[in-house]
């Protein structure tokens, strides 16, 4: 009986959480078009997450491109298809690895900090303080974070794509002996705008998912240090799972 009771409790918790997240998204769009829009906090937040994330993003891009070139060479050289490496690197990065790896890195780098910050604000009554100062906490805390990350993610992915291709170029030219001009020509010729666009759309969706989930986990966190810790962990785990699930759905759509 205990097992059934626990399964039932978990099912109710899951369904109520899904409902709360949907309501949360609805609230975001509702407040997005309300007159009080805190421009300063939006801009400040965008600048903050954009510049602080660039080193992580750059490292993700360069090493992904370098590894991709090496691994592709290992496989393709077995049936003399080495010339396809520039195409594979650019296609894999723009369509798949760029958005997914960036999404996972940003969920760990930015999503966790959003959840921890908002949860701490909740625990230390800072959210109540916002209400006492007649400030719409949703517009002040959630809107800037969701907007900033949704706008920043396509920029991050563009950067990862570019740096990743350069990483692949470095390894291919200096380690595998490719002709540098041929590598770049193959890369540019093979890449279509639709490939890049599909990655950018994925990135936008991932940015929205990460920011909404992180803000939600922070605002609905438990009490004390444990609550803050759980909010941070939950935001990263849930965002990562949703990124992987939505990636498959979006890939099916763009297939």
């Amino acid at each position: 009986m205990m097992i059934i009771e626990n399964i039932g409790k978990q099912a109710i918790y899951l369904i109520s959480s899904i409902g709360k997240i949907i309501l949360f998204i609805f609230l975001f769009f509702k407040f997005l078009f309300q007159p009080k829009f805190y421009f300063r906090s939006n801009l400040k937040y965008f600048i903050n997450i954009f510049f602080s994330s660039i080193p992580v993003i750059a490292l993700t891009g360069i090493f992904s491109g370098m590894v991709l070139a090496l691994q592709s060479y290992t496989g393709f050289s077995r049936f003399s298809a080495e010339s396809a490496i520039p195409n594979i690197v650019v296609l894999t990065l723009t369509r798949e690895l760029g958005p997914v790896l960036t999404g996972l890195m940003i969920s760990a780098r930015v999503g966790s900090s959003i959840a921890a910050e908002i949860a701490t604000m909740r625990v230390t009554e800072q959210i109540d303080a916002l209400k006492t100062l007649n400030t719409n906490f949703f517009n002040y805390l959630v809107t800037p974070r969701v907007l900033s990350l949704t706008i920043a993610m396509p920029l991050f992915v563009t950067l990862v794509d570019f740096i990743g291709v350069m990483g692949g170029y470095l390894v291919s030219v200096h380690r595998l002996g490719f002709n540098e001009n041929m590598y770049l020509i193959n890369t540019i010729d093979f890449l279509s705008f639709a490939d890049y666009l599909s990655g950018v759309i994925k990135a936008t969706v991932f940015g929205f998912i990460i920011s909404v989930i992180s803000c939600y986990c922070g605002l609905y966190s438990g009490k004390g240090a444990f609550g803050v810790g759980s909010a941070t962990t939950n935001s990263v785990v849930l965002s990562s799972i949703l990124i992987l699930v939505s990636n498959y759905i979006l890939t099916e759509i763009f297939f």
Binding site: Y38, F39, R40, S41, E117, T120, M121, T124, E125, Q126, D128, A129, K131, T132, L133, N134, T135, Y140
Partner: protein, 237 residues
């Protein structure tokens, strides 16, 4: 502002926190709500401030049901200063958030009022002491010149010297600005120093109300236990 709390009840799930609370906050007086931890004091304060919804009953503000919460200011138990903003931005938050400029002089005056040097206006809350945080939080609560100030355990976590300083500051500000003050506390010493009227809350019910003298002469068992401590009460008996 006169505030009348009429038959107010509040529950969280099955936990009844307040049960038919009736009390009046008189205009330009300092009202103290006393009670043990967990008796519903903070919930009552948040209901009056309209941060929580009432389940049953009414709260009338100058005989009206609605009030502009810009007429209220609140000092939180642990200050609740915004970590990511400087002291200056915290105090002038209402101006800062609405992109108003040139609030430095106003902030300097607020800091002076609470006995702090304007040198700290660029510091972050993490860089100042507990007593200073409380005073900055008080300056923030006073910045929009409220009619009513809510004080949630104003001396919690402070040493006796800082507690006295905060109490004197609160008294001075209330008298100078002719404000209505509502304080919740379980610190008897502070309560006796800063109050005009007292209400004793026990398990969500107002057990006794009146002036300091009346409360000290009360025969209410719970109030006497609270005022003296159970062991002292047994010794006196």
């Amino acid at each position: 502002m006169k505030i009348e709390i009429q038959n107010v009840s509040k529950s969280f799930d099955k936990n009844k926190v307040l049960q038919g609370v009736n009390l009046t906050i008189e205009k330009n007086k300092s009202t103290i709500i006393l009670g043990k931890s967990g008796c519903g004091k903070s919930v009552l304060l948040k209901l009056i401030y309209q941060l929580l919804q009432i389940d049953d009953g009414h709260i009338l503000y100058n005989n009206k049901k609605n009030v502009d919460i810009d007429r209220f200011g609140m000092l939180f138990q642990y200050g609740a200063l915004f970590d990511s903003l400087t002291v200056e931005e915290n105090i002038a938050f209402v101006d800062y958030i609405n992109n108003k400029l040139n609030f430095r002089n106003k902030v300097a005056n607020s800091l002076k009022e609470v006995g702090l040097s304007p040198d700290i206006y660029k510091k972050y809350p993490a860089e100042i002491s507990g007593g200073m945080k409380k005073r900055v939080a008080l300056a923030r609560a006073m910045y929009k010149k409220p009619d009513v100030i809510f004080l949630d355990e104003p001396t919690t976590g402070l040493d006796p010297v800082n507690s006295d300083m905060i109490n004197e500051l609160i008294l001075r500000i209330i008298q100078k600005k002719k404000m209505t003050a509502i304080t919740i506390t379980h610190d008897i010493q502070s309560a006796l120093k800063t109050g005009h009227n007292y209400h004793f809350l026990n398990e969500g019910i107002v057990e006794d109300s009146g002036t300091c003298k009346k409360l000290l002469q009360s025969k209410n068992k719970f109030l006497n236990e609270f005022l003296l401590g159970v062991k002292n009460l047994q010794r006196i008996k």
